[in-house]
Amino acid sequence: MRDAAMPGAWRHYRPSQAMIVVILTAIIFVTLSAALPGFLSVGNLFTLARGISILGILGLGMAVVVIGRGIDLSQIAILAVSAAIAVSLINAGLPEGPSLLIGLLIAVLAGILNGFLVSVIEIPPLFTTLASSLLLLGLTRALVVPHYQVFLEHSSDTLQALGGTVAGGLPVPVIVFAVCALLLHLFLSKTVLGHFIYAHGDNAEAARLAGIATRPLTMLEYGLSAAIGYVAGVVMVASTSLMHLQIAESTMIFDVILVVVLGGVSLVGGRGNVMSVIAGTLLIGVLLNAMTIMNLNIQVQNVIKGGVLLFAIVFDSYLHPRDDETAKQGD
């Protein structure tokens, strides 16, 4: 209420959530290196990095939607479907370039459809994306990819290079992740549209009243999420030479949400940035890898992942409470 009493700067210094997560990751990393034989081997670190990259790229896409106060549960389904279609086209003899472009187009269109349903028809994003993922998957299985998986029959060098390594074994997916992160960072922080996405997630009605075209903006958010997801899909295909539609029915989407929320991209919207995604990715990547090395069975892994996700969401709503009471108190 009062203008007086300028508090000291130190009172306002709080380490960001991303920072805390990075420190936590470092601690876990060091502990695992000491305790877990095989964790700190070059081979494992590259496996770890490769696994992280795909999760990280997906997280970047999801972050765009979550910053805009939405959620995209269909990201993996869109990725699987569009990548599978691209692979089928290549198998059918279409050149790689156009095939991949068509895949991208399908992904973006699916994303825009999500955005349309959310913003114009005003269906909550949770239901929209849940339903659209089912629809896409069903359509694709019925029309294009009769089996769960499509193998890339004749791959080119360029595509294989995308899944390979460069200069002393650094996996290319890591570079793709870095490039995506950099581009997204520039988009979010340097462009007006990026700032509009923050405004939209912070207070959608205020953004609308101010004259921001929130409906096209929503479509942009979901379109971006799908497009970035598709990049991850292409990297997957490049690494493994196949696209397995079953990933759309796996718990992968939870890993992605976990990465995003844990790093500090709050589900209430308008908060977090690319750094948050990187931090979240590191932590979850390390955890997943450690659990694999420890050979924990999948149920235990799920219990741990689910527990951490619940904790992250509870913690998030503790940090950013948003209900009528806080929204209205006129202090």
């Binding site: 209420m1 009062r2 203008d3 300028m6 306002h12 922080s189 340097k190 462009t191 007006v192 549209l193 990026g194 700032h195 509009f196 923050y198 405004a199 912070d202 207070n203 009605e205 205020a206 953004a207 609308r208 009243l209 101010a210 004259g211 921001i212 075209a213 409906r215 308008g270 908060r271 929204a327 209205k328 108190q329 006129g330 202090d331």
Partner: protein, 506 residues
């Protein structure tokens, strides 16, 4: 009236929200078997007092005595158990359940015997002389019948005190008669009734005693017989008008009458209708003029403003006409209004005014960028500084704290940032909705001054306010809205608080 031991007493009751007093030092008492009317302007604290009595809100300080014992209710459910029930304006029934189920709500046994509760419902309805089918789903009932069900529920809980929040607001005259009949029956049974009303005649006719609140303080309690319409209105608005006149508030001499410069009509609103909230509302706004719009909550003022700026849609058929500089407009989204130079500054800045995660500069610059006139691709820190510097200076926003997030600002500075965010869009018509709500006293004159400056620069300014001194001090012309219409229009030189209040309540 003989002195009866009061059933309920509030002693020195104070409730503060974030440092602002909603009610302050209120001494209120209620006797068994009386009908007690609560009167006051918007924001006078009537609802807060009722919520405290009903246990929905707790006192910050003071004492609540029920039947001789001090009590403190943590939730409305506890109050209900103790015999204090509240009948809300928006009814608190479950629409998808039957009347009988709703009557039973909160008292269910483990297994519901429908036959039993239906019979019980029938009996309780009959004892109150209601005719509502216990098997009807509540969603199929009209407002009046829903209210009957609520009352029946209160009676079933053996309520000794029943609070009604504007019970007659949505009833027809016959239904009102029926309700008052019921009030009398309840009174005869020794139930104490409190009701909020904006209809003075009703209150004067029905109530045994009347309490008038003003600005959170209790200014009068006494038998209804000793009061009449005029004296009540005087009690409701009777502020020290001299302390709040135009000169002191704005720091300038009244600008209105001296130069009647040629105003051009910028905005014309004709017979605008939206559902049952805005009905045939008509008014105009002129360049270089501040129009104040007074009225009670629910008079359709905010709604019409939101219709003008595209945030809501009026009826598609027979929705009336809005003209901007003679051209008809009908916006689908606010962006179109912003493009045409119409901005709306919200009444609840936290809800839909500012972006809480951002600094003041970002907020102002985003307002600038959001205008279709200032389209660009890259976010420029340099331009942000230029734009925000300009407005920080123009509106006197406390510049010390510009690196802080806006949520950490004082209410006054927040409000100024929200205003700047809209003004950065270079508007021609500005609609302020409650421009000084929750604003610290020191910032109010500054905001009033900027409103006046906007008009002086040739904009058409509409100010919606429930605070009459504000309306009187900044308006050139005063409109009074009631029930979705403009019912009165006067020059500010002729307007007084009494006149406005008179027009605003029926």
């Amino acid at each position: 009236m003989s002195e009866v031991e009061p059933i309920l007493k509030i002693v020195a009751g104070t409730k503060t929200y974030g440092g602002v007093h909603a009610i302050e030092g209120v001494d209120f008492d209620l006797r068994p078997g009386e009908i007690h009317a609560l009167l006051g302007e918007n924001g006078a604290g009537k609802s807060t007092l009722c919520k405290i009595i009903a246990g929905a809100v707790q006192l910050s300080s003071g004492e609540y005595v029920l039947a001789g014992e001090p009590v403190s209710f943590a939730a409305p459910g506890e109050a209900l158990k103790a015999g204090v029930a509240m009948v809300y304006q928006e009814t608190s029934l479950v629409p998808s359940m039957t009347v009988a189920q709703n009557l039973e709500l909160g008292m269910e046994k483990l297994v519901t015997d429908f036959r039993k509760i239906n019979i019980a419902a029938q009996q309780s309805q009959q004892s109150l002389n209601f005719n509502v089918d216990p098997l009807a789903l509540v969603e199929t009932l009209g407002t009046a019948k829903r209210q009957m069900v609520e009352i029946a529920r209160a009676v079933r809980h053996d309520a000794r005190v029943i609070i009604f929040d504007e019970p007659t607001a949505s009833l027809t005259p016959e239904e009102i008669q029926h309700l008052f009949h019921l009030f009398n029956r309840l009174r005869a049974q020794g139930v104490a009734i409190v009701f909020i009303s904006h209809a003075l005649e009703e209150a004067l006719e029905m109530a045994d005693r009347i309490t008038v609140l003003r600005d959170g303080k209790l200014v009068h309690t006494g038998p209804a017989k000793e009061l009449e319409r005029e004296s009540v209105i005087r009690l409701m608005v009777g502020r020290e008008v001299t302390a709040m006149n135009k000169v002191e508030l704005t720091g300038e001499s009244p600008a209105a009458p001296e130069t009647p410069h040629v105003h051009s009509r910028v905005l014309t609103v004709e017979n605008v209708t939206m559902g049952s909230v805005v009905k045939n509302m008509s008014f105009s706004a002129y360049a270089g003029e501040v129009v104040g719009m007074a009225g009670l909550v629910g008079a359709g003022r905010t709604e019409v403003a939101q219709i003008i700026c595209g945030a809501r849609k009026r009826n598609f058929l027979r929705g009336g006409l809005i003209l901007l500089n003679g051209k008809p407009i009908r916006y689908r989204v606010p962006r179109q209004a912003v493009r045409d130079g119409i901005v709306y500054i919200t009444e609840d800045r936290k809800l839909d005014g500012f972006f809480e995660t951002m600094t003041a500069d970002d907020n102002i610059y985003l307002g600038h960028l959001a205008s279709p006139k200032n389209r660009r691709w890259l976010y420029s820190r340099k331009e942000r500084k230029q734009v925000s510097d300009r407005w920080v200076e123009a509106l006197g926003i406390s510049a010390l704290k510009r690196s802080l997030k806006i949520i950490e600002y004082s209410g006054g500075n927040q409000q100024k940032v929200v205003v700047a965010k809209s003004l950065a869009q270079d508007p021609k018509v500005v609609i302020f909705d409650e421009p000084t709500r929750g604003v610290d006293v020191g910032a109010i004159p500054q905001i009033h001054r900027s409103i006046r400056e906007l008009a002086d620069r040739g904009m058409a300014v509409i100010v919606i306010s429930s605070y009459l001194p504000e309306i009187l001090s900044i308006s050139d012309r005063v409109l009074v809205a009631r029930g979705g219409r403009i019912v009165e229009e006067m020059a500010s030189s002729e307007a007084t608080e009494e006149k406005i209040m008179y027009a605003a309540i029926h």
